[in-house]
Amino acid sequence: MSKKEKKVFSDGSEIIENNRSLDDQLSIDLQDVDIYDGPVAIRINKLIKRFGNFTAIDNLSLIVKYGEIFGLLGPNGSGKTTTINIISGLSKPTSGQVIVLGNDITKDLHTVHASLGAVPQETALYEELSAWTNMSFHADLYGVVGSDRGKRITEMLNLVQLYERKDNPVSTFSGGMKRRLALARALLHDPQLLYLDEPTLGVDVQSRRAIWDYIINLKEKKGKTVLLTTNYLEEANALCDRIAIIDHGKLVVLPNTPAELKQRYGDIIMDIETTSSITSQLVMHIQNISGINSVTQTNNILKITMSGNDLSSTGNIISLINKESNIKRISQREPNLEEIFLSLTGTGLRD
């Protein structure tokens, strides 16, 4: 089944890859959903959501297991928020079934809400009010009452390091602080399940690290189940046990782990800028070196995808290229979502 094939795209770039066909992957992965019979936190079955004629979610099926961090990965407008909205009861499905913690969300929404903590994409904080007031309002809504109420709020604010700012209006907070506060608020009633819609959107690098740590802690120390959505492969990689990629509301691929996704595509990308383009025979030649997943050339830039940490072939590649052209620049990095998409679907991402 595994074979190397060459794709040529309209912009002139070409890609040669080592892959199963998309249909094969999907049939296997969907089967996986059906045969898994361990404890399930969320089960989405043939979910469809239409806005008028526009289909935002197109026959989506997946499961989130108890105690895992599951990532819904996709570009802007792919339907991540719509999916989160439906499984949290904020939006009604056109058809399909969603079971959360054993409850059908069209019937027992109340039960689901009591054990769900959600951080919506837009945080839904009352910006004109203080951090403390936001927390205490949430406590009243969720029935967090009694003597340890204040203690619990303090504890959560300390967790996200915002206790010192508790009396400041949220409008004075940075994007990262708002996300952290929204996370603290979502944790206040000690929910079993957490939905985080783009948890690090608009957050600086330092805060992002801190938020990732909280999320990992939630799973490892508290045994929570987390469903998050993200635009960044890096984030999915850092946090998620399993991921699903969606685009146009459809499941693109469901590998079991981010590691597997990267393996399929390659771990490392080398960008080599040359003074002039090299021949396609040479591209083919490089492609056949072991450990190389794919090679593409666009405007004098060679993009080489490699598996594993074995960089021993680098020297070999450089000397091969030097036969036809001169190297101006070499850089190494992890693949991004755009590239994985291109490889998996043969089409680029929408922006």
């Binding site: 909205n85 959600a118 945080t123 009352y126 004109e128 009010l129 009243d140």
Partner: protein, 379 residues
């Protein structure tokens, strides 16, 4: 079992209080909106009052064909109404003045005025209007019935008068301004309630915080009641200020404070819930403001603001009975002046207002349940 029930009620009340407090805090931080919802209603009241006081003095010729005591009283009622500058003349001189454009109307007190009143029969009061000046024309149309109201108030303190007009006891003179102020207060309560509650509901959608409410396991009805309570407390600042202005600045003293209190509360419930419905449906505060003002002004003119609505044209008089401001003005006229301006009377009008309040609360629950069913994300 009992314990579970009582904690349930306790939680319910907590949600109501938390929601009310949250809305109050949010509104208090937003000076601009606080200002609009408190200042606009007062402005509305003062502006219309000013308009009535300055623009309402229409030069009018009075032709008196009866010299009896009732006729004299009627003339004095007209003179005190703040609406006319009266020239007493003969019929032919009046016609000349009208043609020269020096007066805008001729009111004739017919020779049988006293006789007819003594026998309790209906009187025709001929009013000729120069309809070139639309502004004045309208003033006359409103002012003549009011002069009649005032006249009856003085002439027959203990009698049921002709048409819909019934008189209880009178301790004060009522003129145009005193009547109008009370009507204006009712419409201002409406405007203030719509603005305040409409903003409180729309703000949640505008800022996306509605998700915090909809994702919570709290009882939706408790959330809604909390919003009603919060908006009412905020609205009461504006109403209290209005009462201070009316009582101390304009000098209209209510005869029945208890009625004023109860009916104010009823009207506030009705209009605050209406505001919540509007805010929930339009989801934008910028849309709430023009909608509230746009609703209040026509209803104001429809509701007998310048004189009992029942004396207006029959279509208006019928249509107006389907909306609460009509009854609001009626019961407020009673609370302030002891008047009854509707054929139904105080008790029935009060009960109709209770029905309006209940219907609005029910309608707002239906709207909220529907929003939950359809979801916020899907329009």
């Amino acid at each position: 079992m009992n314990k579970i029930k009582s904690t349930c009620i306790y939680r319910y009340i907590r949600v109501i209080l938390a929601m009310a407090m949250k809305d109050i805090k949010s509104s208090l931080t937003e000076r601009a909106f606080l200002l609009t919802s408190i200042i606009i209603p007062i402005n509305f009241l003062l502006l219309f009052l000013l308009f009535a006081l300055t623009g309402g003095q229409a030069p009018t010729a009075l032709v008196v064909e009866d010299k009896g005591p009732f006729a004299q009283q009627f003339i004095s009622a007209m003179e005190h109404s703040n609406s006319f500058i009266i020239h007493q003349t003969t019929s032919s001189d009046a016609q000349k003045l009208l043609q020269l454009g020096q007066i805008v109307a001729i009111v004739t007190i017919p020779a049988n005025f006293d006789m007819a009143l003594k026998h309790g029969s209906q009187i025709e009061l001929p009013v000729i209007i120069n309809n070139l000046d639309v502004d004045f024309t309208n003033d006359i149309r409103r002012a003549v019935p009011l002069a009649i109201t005032s006249f009856y108030a003085n002439a027959f303190p203990n009698q049921v008068a002709v048409k819909a007009y019934e008189i209880d006891t009178y301790t004060h003179d009522t003129d145009y301004v005193h009547y109008l102020v009370v009507s204006l207060m009712v419409v201002s309560i409406m405007l203030g309630g719509l603005l305040q509650a409409g903003s409180n509901a729309a703000r949640e959608y505008e800022k996306g915080t509605i998700k915090e409410l909809l994702l919570s396991p709290a009882n939706p009805l408790a959330i809604q009641i909390g919003k009603i309570v919060g908006s009412m407390i905020l609205n009461s600042f504006s109403v209290a200020l209005m009462i201070v202005v009316i009582v101390f600045l304009i000098g209209v003293w209510p005869q029945h404070w208890d009625e004023l209190f109860v009916f104010t509360l009823l009207l506030m419930i009705t209009f605050v819930t209406a505001g919540l419905i509007i805010g929930t449906l339009v989801r934008r505060r910028q849309a709430v403001v023009p909608l509230s003002i746009g609703l209040s002004i026509p209803i104001f003119f429809l509701s007998g603001a310048f004189g009992p609505a029942i004396w207006g044209d029959p279509v208006t008089a019928t249509v107006t009975q389907f909306q609460p401001v009509y009854y609001g003005i009626a019961v407020f006229q009673h609370a302030f002046h002891g008047f009854t301006t509707t054929p139904t009377g105080l008790i029935v009008d009060g009960l109709i207002l209770v029905v309006f309040a209940v219907v609005m609360v029910a309608a707002s629950s239906i709207v909220i349940v529907n929003v939950r069913k359809r979801g916020v994300a899907a329009k």
